[in-house]
Amino acid sequence: MIREPATLFLIILFPVILTLAFGTSFGAIGGSQSTTYQIGVVNTDSAGPYQQWSQRFVGNLTNTEILRIQDYSDNETAQADLIQGKIQAVLLIPENFGESCNSFWAAPTDSSLWVNTTVQLYLDSGSMFATQAIPLIIQQVLAATVYGDQPISVPRPIQIGSPSLIQASKTTMFDYMAPGIFAYAAIFLTMTVAQSFTTDREKGLLRRINITPTTPTEFMTSQAVSNMLAALVQAVLVFAMAYLIGYRPNVDAASFTLAFVIVLIFSLCNVGFGLITATIAKSPGAATGIAFVFIMPQMFLGTFVGFALSPTGQAAGKFVPSYYVTDALTSLFLRGAPISSPTILLDLAVVSVCSVIALLLGIVLFRKYGKA
């Protein structure tokens, strides 16, 4: 066991990495931290005669410590950030909010004298947790702000309207997971590529190919292209299976095309990781084990597991390429963001840069140290 590095890795290092991955993703590594949600507030009653009500409401929201408030001067800007996933909700406080509160306290038992109003709440349709947690928090804070200790069953002049909640309630757990599953499928290319190269090297096939006039550039290009095609087939199969299960993202052809393009570019990143693995691994068995060093962080921090992560895990996720793939596909498929939105373009840029770096590094390292 001591003399077989691959076995040693699988028995000792693999459980360590696995535990670390789970701990970072779901545990309290980095100290005990509670989840926070960023919400945008558009307060159109900030300058009225009863402005103290809306100010108290916003103050109470801030004091919850679970909500981080970002002020917006207009709803359009707030909605633009919501659709790109920068904030998890938008709260639109109406102009007559203070008047409504004041009318209740002026005649708490005579509803005919109340000024009725609605606080609009828009939720991030790409976040299952935001959809479930935020409305309850808002409702609780609103009640405490306006009614103090009044029982909840008493009729009230102020309601919470959540137009996007109606839409979100039709969304299943699988719909939230699906963007990550597309990325997940491409991640395992790392292992496939590593195994393929180490097997061919072990059999003397790489050496044999090296004796032909085919240049290393031509050979590597052919490997990259063939693996991209494999990734394309995988993405099509994943989508076909998801469609059969009932996944129906409401997107246009341009968004679909961009989603596949992002997955294809991401596949190059994993080809690069596969080459790096093949450089290190001396056998196909070792390649299988070492590939998990690249697979597991991406899997836990950047795919469908991502939405359940601890704050530390979410922060760590930004260092893995799959996070940006999942984020882009979530924006496209769940939030309905246009393909030209800055967040999606940024995700595409990050994935592209990571892919170029990983692929070039993999090629250079393999040519220098990985051939037999």
């Binding site: 059999k203 096939l205 044999r208 004796i211 032909t212 006039p213 085919t214 240049t215």
Partner: protein
Amino acid sequence: MIMKEVAIVIDNLTKRFEDVTAVDGLSLEVEKGELFGLLGPNGAGKTTTINVLCGLLEPTSGSVRVGGCDAQKELNKVKELIGVCPQDTAVFSYLTGRENVELFGNLHAMPKEKLKKNTEELLRKLDLLDDANRRVGKYSGGMRRRLNLIMALVNDPEIAFLDEPTVAMDVQSRHAVWDFIKDLKKQNKTVILTTHYMEEAEELCDRVGIIDYGKLIALGTPEQLKDKFGAKNLEKVFIQLTGRRIREEL
């Protein structure tokens, strides 16, 4: 005196791996159209020499020229001239015999028609035509080795390096391969053949070089060497020169 064209020139070649000297000051020339046998015990430096000739290894010192081209500076030209049959059977198990041959023909950028013609001819000559469409994973060891040889020659190279092409073959297959190799000589191809089978060297080779511990210790035709060392056959010459101690590959 007729000056024959020289196909391969090895000039004071040395190759070291860390503290091991695999080839030590080797110098020899192989004429165009010659079938040259490179003999030696395990670990003598035969395969290392072949690897330097086809550009897989860089010499520590010295130079090699193949087909008039420097194997280090003009490697791309050398690769177009040579075909190499490696010692280990390097074939794709999940492809058919024909697909393996055609793949390597395509790696040599052969024209389609010529590739097809060469593939059929070589498969026929080495009795693999009937099994050409079966996956290599189902082939016997002898069939794989014959396929290994075909893949090295599909591009119709001027110079062929055959590293122990008949090892582990039965008698019939070996004789079939011998006939095939003699046919290469008739086509005026230059062949360097490494082998442990002395009768093979006697049967096929115009000249033989015996190397041991990386050095050339004898060079000549089989008849010249037998006369020089007073031996009945090449095996006796070999044992006289290299001793009876069992050797291991590096």
